[in-house]
């Protein structure tokens, strides 16, 4: 039997302490969040998710609006990202070559690493008014009978604006994932399409349908990413606990709520623990979705590489 030599073991041990940090951090984080949320679950129980109120002085809390808000904005963000990322990925993968391709790819990379606060500033000062005038108000005028569009946008800060803004910010991330998947499809499928005289459109349709599981996984991962977005949300969502079915009304997301209220939470008895429980919900959803998304892509990749 080949024993690992003493030197190998020493090498491993020398790497161990610092490497384990990642594990330690994750475990510590999860424990902290869970422990700090227990109080609120015990005290409030399901009341937390059936009402929508933030009243620390009276110690009355209801997280329905922020939780729904987080889910709604993320869903909108993913929709926006789908509409924008998919064509962009197709553009880069199929239509661009050489210099143009590297320029556009670099721009996408640049977008992807950009600090979100910059997006937040631009979104709150330019995107929101733009959306209000050119999208929300027209939709409200033309289709007010649809509950989603039934309220008049006042300043524009709303679930809708937050969703679109966050969507724009995750476009690079989703594009990168879709491109990676698209480019893992073996050449032979593309060659097969052209070989039978398909047009570009028809070929792309085939490629997309081949990549569909990976694209969906990319959207799921984008959703998880959108859930955690804070600065853009605070700047565009309107920061109101009012829960309505209208997309154009101001609302809240969990992260925006925390950003606004956590600093003062220690003044009250239950505020902090309630906020912890709200982030626990988000973290759980995000981790589960991330896990599901990544494993789907891995499985898809092993199936597609013949």
């Amino acid at each position: 039997m080949v024993k690992p030599s003493k030197r190998d073991k020493l090498f491993f041990l020398s790497l161990l302490p610092l490497s384990v940090s990642l594990l330690a951090i994750l475990i510590l984080s999860i424990i902290t969040i869970v422990l700090r949320s227990l109080d609120s679950f015990q005290h409030f129980g399901s009341q937390l998710i059936t009402s929508s109120v933030w009243n620390p002085e009276k110690e009355v809390y209801g997280l329905l609006a922020p939780i729904i808000g987080s889910l709604a904005t993320s869903a909108l963000a993913v929709l926006t990202a789908l509409v924008l990322s998919l064509p962009l990925s197709i553009m880069i993968a199929e239509y661009l070559r050489g210099f143009a391709k590297s320029v556009v790819s670099s721009v996408v990379e640049l977008m992807g690493g950009m600090p979100t606060i910059i997006y937040a500033v631009w979104a709150s000062q330019y995107l929101v008014p733009f959306l209000k005038q050119l999208v929300m108000e027209p939709l409200h005028r033309v289709l007010p009978f649809i509950p989603l569009f039934s309220c008049r946008p006042i300043a524009g800060f709303s679930i809708f604006a937050a969703g679109v803004a966050i969507g724009i910010s995750i476009v690079p991330y989703v594009t990168a994932l879709i491109l990676e998947a698209y480019q893992s499809i073996p050449m032979m499928y593309r060659e097969a399409c052209y070989g039978i005289g398909a047009t570009k459109y028809e070929t792309v349709r085939v490629m997309i349908s081949l990549a569909r599981p990976a694209i969906i996984a990319a959207l799921i991962l984008g959703f998880a990413r959108a859930l955690g977005e804070t600065t853009i949300a605070v700047a565009t969502v309107g920061n109101s606990m009012y829960l309505s079915s209208c997309l154009f009304a101001p609302g809240y997301t969990v992260s925006a709520l925390i950003a606004s209220q956590f600093a003062n939470a220690h003044l009250y008895q239950y505020a902090e623990t309630v906020l912890y429980s709200s982030i626990l919900v988000v973290v759980l959803i995000a981790i589960v979705l991330s896990f599901y998304g990544s494993t789907t892509i891995i499985k898809w990749r092993s199936r597609i590489i013949v």
Partner: protein, 244 residues
């Protein structure tokens, strides 16, 4: 080595191999592809450790060390290896590639000693004349044959007592291959050379002793002259006739 059997992931690669390799000779291990030659070499320098799921039975003594139970890093200080695919360090210059072997093993202590060793190693590897004016170029600027000779120089700079060569000319043009063979033969006074090849002609050119490996077992071994003139097993005969 005695009764060495090697299993990789429950497939048997070597079966009860027993060989005695005399010092200061060129010992060639011949055999068709897949017979386990590379694995045999890797047992000697403990590179078998890098293979996943490898299991070794038997005992191996190398240069006085119990190879299987010693510290492999210590063991490898005395063994130079040249691989089938040339692998000079791409981030080092030609000079540095050879020098690093000498530096790490404490062969040279001063700048001057280092220069001397590098020159000596490159000369022995028959590469000095071609690179003397471009010692600061990088290996990717060399041809495949030159890279392999660089690898030989690197192995020699360690001043090893044992040199292992795994099909060193497999990926090289015939001219360079000849040069390499010349270099190998010239080494045997100072070093023990164990070489693996699948070409019986090459074996005939360089070997003092030969062992024929087939399907993980040694089917025949002995002094080169004897084996080439009068191969006693069918396997060896087929090999020499080029039928394998």
């Amino acid at each position: 080595m005695s009764n060495v059997s090697v299993y990789i992931k429950s497939r048997q690669i070597l079966s009860r191999v027993t060989l005695k390799i005399p010092y200061n000779t060129v010992f060639v291990i011949m055999g068709p592809s897949g017979s386990g030659k590379t694995t045999l070499l890797r047992v000697i320098n403990r590179l078998i450790d890098l293979v996943e799921g490898a299991r070794i039975e038997g005992s191996v003594k190398v240069l006085g060390f119990d190879a299987l139970n010693s510290d492999p890093y210590e063991l490898r200080k005395h063994i130079g290896t040249v691989f089938q695919v040339p692998n000079p360090f791409p981030h080092l210059t030609i000079y540095e590639n050879v020098a690093i072997a000498a530096k790490i093993n404490g062969v040279a202590k001063s700048r001057k000693e280092l220069n001397d060793v590098v020159k000596w190693a490159l000369e022995k590897a028959m590469l000095w004349d071609e690179v003397r004016n471009r010692l600061h170029d990088h290996p990717h600027q060399l041809s495949g044959g030159q890279r392999q000779r660089l690898c030989l120089a690197r192995a020699l700079a360690m001043k090893p007592r044992l040199l292992l060569l795994d099909e060193p000319t497999a990926n090289i043009d015939p001219v360079n291959a000849r040069k390499l063979e010349e270099a190998i033969v010239s080494l045997k006074d100072e070093i023990t050379v164990v070489m693996v090849t699948h070409s019986p002609h090459q074996a005939a050119r360089v070997a003092d002793y030969v062992a024929v490996l087939y399907d993980g077992s040694v089917v025949e071994h002995g002094p080169a002259q004897q084996l080439f003139l009068r191969p006693s097993t069918e396997v060896a005969q087929k090999l020499l006739r080029g039928e394998m």
